[in-house]
């Protein structure tokens, strides 16, 4: 290993270690997050450079600089740092102090690039912008690297030419551009661009506090010096201007500039209208929820008492719900959006809301609100760390902090503070990110700590905070002798406390906190969601609560795209997922070797499709978890008749209670498919197991004969040789036979379309009928008869009663519906561990190991063969024997079942059908079951009668 590669290995390990402490973001992700660039803007190249921004407007209008004898050359500061190129942006940041200079420039704003002669630099470019401002880039470092960067830049310039055409239209929507045009270019006729509702309905602010005009002027000066919107240099003055409160007219643009929504709006022009147009007239749950809240969003603001305001709000919220269906709509978004719309147009607000929900406060408004819960936890940890006294008090008095703080974060203080203050917080929030919320929240607690320490309960706590927010405009120090102190409002004090004292709360601390608590929060949510969903599942009789809980786990384990805790992705099941889902716990759906056979695969799919469609209550081609619960409930019925009826309805596609020839054929195929695991010998059914046990018992009795006096003496012969293949083939044969006799009987007992009846009807009615109708009916009858003669099966149908009779005529199929099918669905087991390749061998092992049942058999045999005196002592025998034989470690599907239990069920259902009153008596249940199973129908005719009786 070379030195370098070993070094690389080491750094990799280091990376991994740090990753485990802090969430890992790639360089690109960090970059995009920091400069709020759209997700497409990956770094293509970077270079070290010195840059200077020479404002056209400033150079022209700043007369003093011209007189300074610099030959009219514009003067500008030089910043040293790193230049990044992405597909649409040039980004520069100062290497020493990032806050001192950050330049974000959209490439389409570049008009011309030329090489600039430079004495001190090897390579320099003069970039001229649409505004005639210039950017001097002087590259530092290797020349070929700089050349490379320029080549790439050239390429991007060419690619961005089409975008330049969109530039003018876009700039016309920017208030900064309007300010420049009006004041620099002296275009007095120009109109302000369309803005938010505040343009007509007034902006919420105290006029004397806002100092709108003075602040606007400051921004105008700033733009003149440093550029604006798509080509702007941000320096500490920018930060300062935001902090003192953005003037209302400028606010919309500054919010979208700081949040990066501006870049999205530029990149995706027309997208907002397109989303609205595309989804026009559609409905969704989100839309219903939005409608409920439209009139309840900042209702005191006059615009929201008008249809215009309501409509704008409706448009933006619905557009977002279509753009991000995982979030859809969450209460509180309406209030935040209503606030945005006061300062922004619909399109601006839409992109701003998108960035806010997706980047600023991810997960806050999700379906499970995991982001909100997580940040509450992070906030609580900060309070514990930064305000320990207060925290101790709150804990001691059982006051729940999140009761007050959750709405602060969720509605970004809009529901807590008066609007004019909340928007000031928002100014800083968009500039500095989510840490702003934590800083302000901590400051609120700190400034009210003295009062809170007097509060006894949640109620008083809430009252203190409510009162504080209501009086934010009042003096923070009303009793101070110093007038300057008296003039400081509580709000100013809040800002100072938040952004000075709690500036220690950084983004990375929040990221670390989120990382630390994420797992716990998500787990809690999962538990909660599961509890709620299971609670609200349909009432079931055959599925126990544990079954439902397991079913829930298997269901969501199958839908990989759905994240329960984050509430993202559809929670419904498509057919493909459904097949995998059933395969996890249904023996007949598990992937098997036969799947390689395309014909088998097709049959399997057809059959599963039938079940799927039958369960799909909404007919949308997707199943909900409740569909699955109700469907499985039908399959798991312990009632033989219900079970058969359900299978019948699966194939009765037109639900007329009769199966046509095609449907009967399909059904027989379905049965063959469904019984494949037993036919192939992968599984053994009760009959086979029974016969194995019988054989073993027989052997024991034979070998020990009369010697057996008490059960204690019985010993299972060690190393009994079970003829695996024999049982396998016997069972296989039995199933094949069942399948063939099913088809045979189906057509034997199928009801002919009752032609004779029709004849009679005609005969009866033809007294008065005119001869023509009579003739046509006769003709029809003739043709029917003719068809029937040609194809005797064609006109035959099977109704439910016949179907049941046919099933009951075959022991194997009867058992299948009574028990085998139900037992092949394993909801009560750890689905992950159950192996799919269970072979008969292991089953047999299980049976032998379960000595108890065999012992029962032996006992019965002993009982019947020799009814001698010692019988009385046998009662305790089986247990003793059972105890003496250790159960196999590999307890299999079947041995884990309690046979007796199933036998009872079986017995019940069978007794229903056969009137077996004569079987009652002092016999053991085992024996009874045996006898009810044994009588095979001698004559089908008798059987049919029984059935008909039962049906009535």
């Amino acid at each position: 290993m070379s030195f370098f590669s070993s070094l690389r290995e080491k750094t990799k390990i280091l990376d991994r270690i740090t990753e485990s402490f802090t969430p890992s973001l790639t360089r690109d992700e960090k970059f995009k997050l920091q400069y709020k660039l759209p997700s497409e803007e990956a770094i293509l190249d970077d270079a070290n450079a010195d840059i200077s921004f020479i404002s056209a407007n400033n150079a022209v209008y700043d007369e003093s600089k011209k007189q300074n004898g610099l030959k009219g050359e514009p003067v500008a500061y030089i910043f040293s740092g790193k230049l990044y190129l992405t597909s649409h942006y040039l980004v520069f940041k100062d290497a020493f102090d990032e806050s001192s200079c950050v330049l974000i420039l959209n490439i389409s704003t570049i008009k011309r690039v030329e090489r600039s002669p430079s004495a001190s630099y090897s390579f320099a470019l003069m970039v001229t912008l649409y505004s005639s401002s210039q950017l001097l880039i002087q590259f530092i470092g290797l020349r070929y690297k700089s050349e490379q960067f320029c080549e790439l830049l050239k390429q991007k310039l060419r690619e961005n030419i089409p975008n330049a055409k969109k530039l003018d239209k876009f700039l016309a929507t920017c208030y900064s551009e309007f300010l420049i045009s009006k004041n620099v270019l002296r275009r007095k006729d120009i109109l302000a661009p369309r803005a938010g509702l505040g343009q007509h309905y007034k902006y919420p602010a105290h006029p004397e506090m806002a100092k709108e005009k003075a602040k606007l002027r400051l921004w105008f000066e700033y733009f003149k010096e440093n550029g604006e919107n798509l080509a702007i240099m941000k320096n500490p003055k920018f930060t300062k201007l935001v902090r003192i409160g953005v003037p209302s007219r400028m606010r919309g643009e500054i919010w979208e500039l700081c949040s990066g929504a501006l870049y999205l709006r530029y990149a995706f022009q027309g997208e907002y209208e397109r989303i609205l147009e595309e989804n026009k007239g559609k409905t969704s749950q989100a839309i219903d929820e939005i409608e409920k809240d439209l009139k309840r969003s900042l209702p005191e603001y006059s615009a929201y008492q008008t249809e215009e305001g309501i409509q704008r709000l409706r448009n933006v919220l619905t557009a977002y719900s279509w753009k991000n269906p995982d979030v859809g709509y969450c209460q509180a978004m309406n209030i935040v959006c209503a606030a945005l719309l006061i300062y922004m147009t619909e399109e601006q607000a839409f992109w701003c809301l998108s960035n806010l929900c997706d980047v600023y406060v991810p997960g806050y408004y999700s379906k499970t609100m995991y982001g909100t819960l997580l940040d509450q936890k992070v906030f609580e940890a900060f309070v514990e760390e930064k305000l320990p006294v207060l925290n101790d008090y709150i804990v001691k008095h059982d006051i729940q902090l999140s009761v007050v703080s959750l709405p602060w974060f969720l509605s970004l203080f809009y529901t807590s503070m008066p609007l004019e203050y909340a928007v000031r917080i928002m100014d800083i929030f968009f500039m500095n990110g989510a840490k702003t919320l934590f800083q302000v929240a901590l400051a609120v607690l700190k400034l009210n700590a003295d009062d809170i320490l007097q509060a006894d309960d949640d109620g008083m706590f809430i009252a203190i905070i409510k009162n504080y927010f209501r009086t934010l405009g009042e003096s923070a120090h009303p009793d101070s002798p110093d007038i300057r102190y008296r003039q400081i409002t509580k709000f100013q004090e809040l800002l100072v406390t938040a952004f000075k004292e709690f500036s220690v709360i950084t983004d990375s601390m929040i990221a670390q906190g989120r990382h630390r608590y994420q797992k716990g929060i998500l787990e809690n949510i999962e538990t909660f969601v599961k509890k709620t969903q299971v609670r609200h599942m349909p009432k079931t009789f055959y599925l126990s609560t544990d079954d439902l809980s397991n079913l829930y786990d298997i269901y969501y384990d199958s839908i990989e795209t759905h994240k329960i805790s984050m509430g993202t992705g559809s929670s419904n099941m498509t057919f493909e997922v459904f097949v995998q889902f059933l395969g996890k716990f249904c023996d007949w759906c598990k992937p098997c070797q036969m799947d390689k056979d395309p014909a088998f695969k097709k049959q399997k799919e057809d059959f599963l499709r039938k079940i799927f469609n039958n369960w799909d209550s909404s007919s949308l081609g997707e199943l909900t978890i409740n569909d699955v619960v109700l469907g499985l409930e039908k399959l798991l019925t312990t009632d033989l008749l219900e079970s058969m009826n359900y299978f019948f309805t699966l194939y009765d596609s037109d639900s007329d209670g009769e199966l046509q020839r095609e449907e009967v054929l399909e059904m027989s195929e379905g049965l063959i498919l469904l019984t494949e695991p037993w036919r192939s010998g992968r599984l053994v059914d009760f009959l086979t197991k029974k016969s194995i046990e019988d054989d073993i018992a027989e052997k024991i009795v034979k070998e020990n004969g009369d010697v057996i006096q008490s059960m204690e003496e019985i010993e299972l012969p060690t190393g009994v040789v079970i003829e695996e293949e024999k049982y396998k083939s016997e069972q296989s044969e039995r199933y094949l036979k069942a399948a063939s006799s099913f088809l045979q009987r189906s057509f034997e007992y199928a009801k002919s379309l009752d032609l004779s009846e029709e004849v009679n009807l005609i005969d009866l009615s033809d007294n008065e009928d005119d001869s023509e109708a009579k003739e046509s009916k006769r003709k029809k009858f003739q043709s029917l008869k003719h068809n029937a003669a040609l194809d005797p099966t064609h006109s035959k149908v099977i109704d439910l009663a016949t179907f049941r009779m046919i099933i009951l005529a075959d022991e194997t199929y009867e058992l299948f519906f009574a028990q085998t099918l139900r037992l092949s669905i394993h909801l009560n087991e750890g689905f992950a561990t159950s192996s799919t390749n269970k072979v008969l061998k292991s089953m047999l092992d299980g049976i032998i190991a379960d000595g108890k049942r065999v012992a029962e058999q032996v006992r019965r045999r002993v009982d019947s063969v020799a009814t001698r005196g010692s019988v009385n002592s046998l009662d305790s025998g089986p247990q003793t024997l059972g105890g003496s034989i250790t159960r196999s470690e590999d307890i299999d599907d079947f041995t884990s079942e309690h046979l007796e239990e199933h036998a009872d069920l079986l017995q019940d259902s069978l007794l229903d059908i056969y009137d077996t009153s004569d079987h009652e008596g002092g016999q053991t249940s085992q024996q009874r079951k045996l006898e009810t199973l044994k009588p095979r129908p001698v004559s089908e005719g008798n059987k049919k009668e029984d059935l008909i009786e039962f049906e009535a």
Binding site: D293, Q331, A332, K367, S402, V403, G459, I462, R535
Partner: protein
């Protein structure tokens, strides 16, 4: 000497926009506003009433109704002695949701919680009975099955609103006059303890006068 004040922690649950906050506003301030902002998280209000010469202080937790806020609800119904499960008689879906809430409360909340099922917005059907989508009998049946107090109310016209609260108040075991101030009804409940100690001081001051 007046009887001690009994505090009742009461929580309101129900689908969004069924009028939970409006019922509270009517009860607390005898006021109504057509377009109330949705409750974010939860709101907290108190109101004192006199029932049979006893003062009862309702500490009311009004929760957000939207489905996704459901995971926050346990935080608010924790230790609650009473709950109002509200639905909108013109919205069948809200009745289904009410059923769910009742089920959840029975499973998760304190065992002896008193629940009132409230069908709100009867003012809407005053002129047009066809607007009603949840029959009174349906509500009554659910209430009977689950052992709930049942009322149909209108926060707008104030119909039955106070009655719901008074009815709950009557069912809550009062603090015994004879017991010492520190003897609380539910000792393990921190909230009641606090209230009791607060009462103790106020009583002491009234005695000294």
């Amino acid at each position: 000497m007046s009887n001690p004040i009994t505090s009742i922690k009461l929580v309101l649950l129900g689908e969004a926009a069924v009028g939970k906050s409006s019922i509270v506003l009517r009860f607390v301030s005898n006021d109504f506003s057509e377009n109330k902002e949705p409750t974010i998280g939860a709101a907290f209000l108190t109101q004192r009433v006199n029932i049979n010469n006893n003062t009862i202080k309702f500490e009311i937790w009004d929760t957000a109704g939207q489905e996704r806020f459901a995971s926050l609800a346990p935080m608010y119904y924790r230790n609650a002695q009473a709950a109002l499960v509200v639905y909108d008689i013109t919205k069948p879906q809200s009745f289904i949701k009410a059923r769910h809430w009742v089920k959840e409360l029975h499973e998760q909340a304190s065992k002896d919680i008193i629940i009132a099922l409230v069908g709100n917005k009867v003012d809407i059907i005053e002129n047009d009975e066809s607007e009603r989508k949840v029959a009174r009998e349906e509500g009554e049946r659910l209430a009977e099955e689950e052992g709930l107090i049942f009322f149909e109310t209108s926060a707008k016209t104030a119909e039955n609103v106070n009655d719901v609260f008074l009815n709950i108040g009557e069912k809550i075991p009062l603090k015994n006059d004879n017991s010492s101030p520190n003897d609380t009804t539910i000792t393990e409940d921190q909230r009641i303890n606090l209230a009791a100690s607060a009462n103790a001081t106020s009583e002491a001051s009234s005695c000294s006068c």
